[in-house]
């Protein structure tokens, strides 16, 4: 066996004899591919939505993104333990992270809008404080809350229903954000403020408040990500770190626009990751994702959204 040291999946090769004997039905096979893609897509979209708002729109490089996710997950778990139904608990997590985000914006981020690179240092500091603070106050781990909804059988394989719910949530999240930014007064003002702050001020917009709310929204979305994934993950103070690389990669590949950028970027990266993971194992899924990022940026400097916009014209 030559797999030692390699991230190869042997399962297929080893059980191919048995597999050949099986009747492969079309629908379960397609569903399986869709499920894997949807799972990767949901993870990327949900974990990057908050960052897309804070980094993509506001230009703040928020290294504490993972800690907002952790905050959302912890509050969700605590509320669910306290007896709240899960959807409500997740909402609590999102709101809590949003409130923390707004407080942080007021105390720290507000002073950094004109020098976004310094936000790296400040938010890294915040991330250290949050991780270690939670460790000291709440201990090294927290009891999880179990994945609800059980499993469903498609063809011969069983699938976690909750992960299908996660995919639906990702789609719902994109629709919700679209409505928020393109169909509501707040959205229009927020976009105007962020594109032309001076103009918005001249038109009587309280830009500070808009910035605060937008940052709060980004933090809240991160909290939502934490809440949604809390039932499927280990609850530790450093859990946010799992999300941060994928989030940044998706947002940067996407570029400044969430809908033209982050969503298609998540789709592309999800296909790459799911395919590489299925064929070559998790190692290549992980490395392939990062290499894809480098190639995409090289081919489309300015990110996907700049590319799509130019192409649209």
């Amino acid at each position: 066996m030559r797999t030692f040291g390699r991230g190869f999946v042997l399962a297929r090769a080893l059980s191919s004899a048995e597999q050949g004997a099986r009747r492969v039905e079309l629908f379960p096979a397609i569903f399986s591919i869709f499920y894997q893609f949807g799972d990767a897509f949901a993870f990327l979209v949900i974990s990057c939505a908050g960052l897309a708002v804070i980094f993509g729109m506001m230009g703040i490089i928020n290294l504490a993104h993972g800690e907002f996710i952790m905050c959302g997950a912890y509050v969700t778990a605590a509320s669910a333990r306290a007896g709240l139904p899960l959807p409500l608990a997740i909402a609590c997590g999102a709101v809590a992270a949003g409130v923390v985000g707004m407080a942080l914006e007021r105390a720290v981020i507000r002073h950094l809008y004109h020098r976004p690179l310094d936000s790296i240092i400040a938010t890294w500091g915040v991330s250290l404080i949050a991780t270690q603070g939670v460790l000291i106050m709440l201990g090294p781990t927290m009891q999880g809350i179990g994945t609800p909804l059980g499993s469903t059988l498609v063809g011969e394989r069983s699938y976690s229903v909750y992960r299908i719910v996660l995919f639906a949530s990702a789609v719902g999240l994109l629709v919700g954000l679209y409505v928020l930014f393109y169909r509501t007064r707040f959205g229009v003002i927020a976009r105007a403020t962020i594109q032309r702050p001076a103009m918005a001020r001249a038109l009587g917009v309280d830009t500070r408040r808009v910035y605060g709310l937008t940052f709060g929204l980004g933090a809240g979305l991160a909290g939502l990500a934490g809440g949604l994934y809390a039932p499927t993950m280990t609850m530790v103070p450093t859990m946010g770190a799992t999300f941060i690389v994928e989030s940044f990669v998706t947002v940067v590949v996407g570029g400044a626009d969430i809908f033209l950028g982050a969503a298609p970027a998540a789709a592309i990266l999800a296909v790459i990751r799911a395919a590489l993971t299925a064929w070559y194992g998790q190692l290549f899924g992980q490395i392939g994702l990062l290499v894809a990022v480098i190639v995409v940026i090289r081919v489309m400097p300015g990110g996907l959204s700049a590319f799509l916009k130019r192409w649209q014209r």
Partner: protein, 412 residues
């Protein structure tokens, strides 16, 4: 401008550090033990308790008059789950604090980071973790369990009970790969089949594809050698996808008490070989848990590493008392006698002179539906035989290397 401010700052910082410890000159001063463990960062969940175990053992020994009349003084640093801190602080305890022995390290990477420094200063370090095995180094004493102790017991039992098709899911680094190698060898020796083997990079937390691969295989049970908080998400995800296969592990429960942290029944039907966990219902164990909780009432869980650290301090006491000094050569001479044993919370354990690893009583812990623990079987006095068989003999020479089954010691 004044560039010398740099030196001022540096000098001030370092001057501060100088005051901390003067060389322990007096032979009858306290015996100093350096403790380098991860009290913050990724590994804190499993390692805070090790520090507490060391403090418990120290207090008990000091209350009973110390080691050969000399009290133990602990010098504790938080290594923050960061290899660089191990390098910095290992130099510090050996050079500056001049400790007699060091208890250090959780991850294998941290051990490999500090080992060159221990060798450089000819120090003595206890590594109290279960790990992938193979460290043949006279400056190291290992009290944790090693693969031959955990897998030569676990895998045959599982195959007998559940069938011979095995799927291994392992973290893609040294521990996972070497452990998987052990599993593969034992499965083949026992006439079983590896139906799958998959390695997961550290930090991966999403397992949908992996779960599907397992479901497609004809595995009778899954050997899960997953490490770290991110990878532990597998259990919840596998459970929600209704994988429903028994699991075997050498690393879960006994270390990260996943059965306490996760919601039942995500870990149900997991079998773990461990040399100690707090559920072990023996007089020695119950007594140990009682004393532990008396001193640290809020301790979330007393794991195998805590027991091994506690045992380590007591072994060191015995070594020093029998050697009549803290001199390392004298201590090694005592180890070479081959009868350094201790009756502790996990039963009777002995140090193997050839490898300076420890024999263990191995408990098979089963996680039930409600995440309570039962013990289907127990193996007494399992030796850490592999290193000695492979040709490591620290009583003869000291290669200071780490070997694995696929890269064994060079033939003598």
């Amino acid at each position: 401008m004044k560039t010398y401010s740099k030196r001022h700052v540096l000098a001030a910082m370092l001057a501060g550090t100088c005051i901390a410890g003067l060389p322990a000159l007096a032979q009858d001063g306290p015996i100093k033990i350096g403790v380098l463990e991860d009290q913050s960062g990724d590994f804190a969940a499993a390692t805070n308790v090790k520090v507490h175990a060391i403090q418990l053992a120290t207090q008990e020994i000091n209350d009973a008059g110390g080691i050969a009349g000399r009290p133990i003084e602990l010098v504790i640093y938080d290594t923050q789950s960061d290899n660089r801190r191990y390098q910095e602080f290992m130099r510090r305890v050996l050079q500056q604090d001049q400790v007699d022995v060091v208890f250090a390290g959780f991850s294998s990477a941290s051990r490999e980071a500090y080992r060159p420094i221990v060798n450089q200063f000819d120090g003595l370090a206890f590594y109290n973790n279960q790990y992938e095995g193979g460290v043949c180094d006279a400056n190291m004493i290992v009290t944790g369990a090693v693969p031959e102790q955990q897998f030569s017991t676990l895998i045959p039992w599982m195959m007998e009970e559940y069938g011979s098709n095995v799927y291994t899911l392992a973290a893609d680094y040294n521990f996972g790969q070497i452990s998987a190698e052990w599993v593969r060898q034992i499965v083949e020796e026992q006439g079983g089949t590896m139906v799958g083997e998959e390695f997961i990079p550290l930090g991966v937390s999403q397992f949908s594809q992996t779960i599907q691969n397992i479901q497609e295989s004809d595995a009778d049970f899954v050997v899960t050698l997953l490490v770290g908080a991110a990878q532990a998400s597998y259990y919840e995800q596998a459970n929600s996808a209704n994988v429903g296969l028994p699991m075997a592990s050498s690393v879960n429960v006994g270390q990260g008490y996943e059965h306490k942290r996760f919601t039942p029944p995500s870990l149900a039907n997991m079998f773990v070989t461990t040399n100690y966990i707090e559920e072990i219902d023996s007089p020695a164990s119950n007594d140990f848990v009682e004393r532990f909780r008396a001193m640290f009432p809020d301790e979330p869980y007393i794991n195998q590493e805590a027991a091994n650290s506690y045992i380590g301090i007591n072994l060191y006491k015995q070594l020093v008392e029998r050697a009549g000094s803290t001199d390392h050569d004298a201590i090694r001479a005592v180890i070479a006698e081959g009868d350094v044993c201790f009756d502790g919370p996990s039963g009777n354990v002995c140090l193997d002179p050839q490898s300076q690893h420890m024999s263990h009583t191995i408990y098979l812990a089963k996680v039930e539906e409600d995440h309570s623990i039962t013990f289907p079987t127990v193996w007494e006095n399992i030796e850490p035989y592999w290193l000695g068989d492979a040709g490591c003999d620290l009583t003869q020479n000291d290669p200071s290397a780490q070997y694995t089954p696929s890269s064994p010691p060079p033939a003598q």
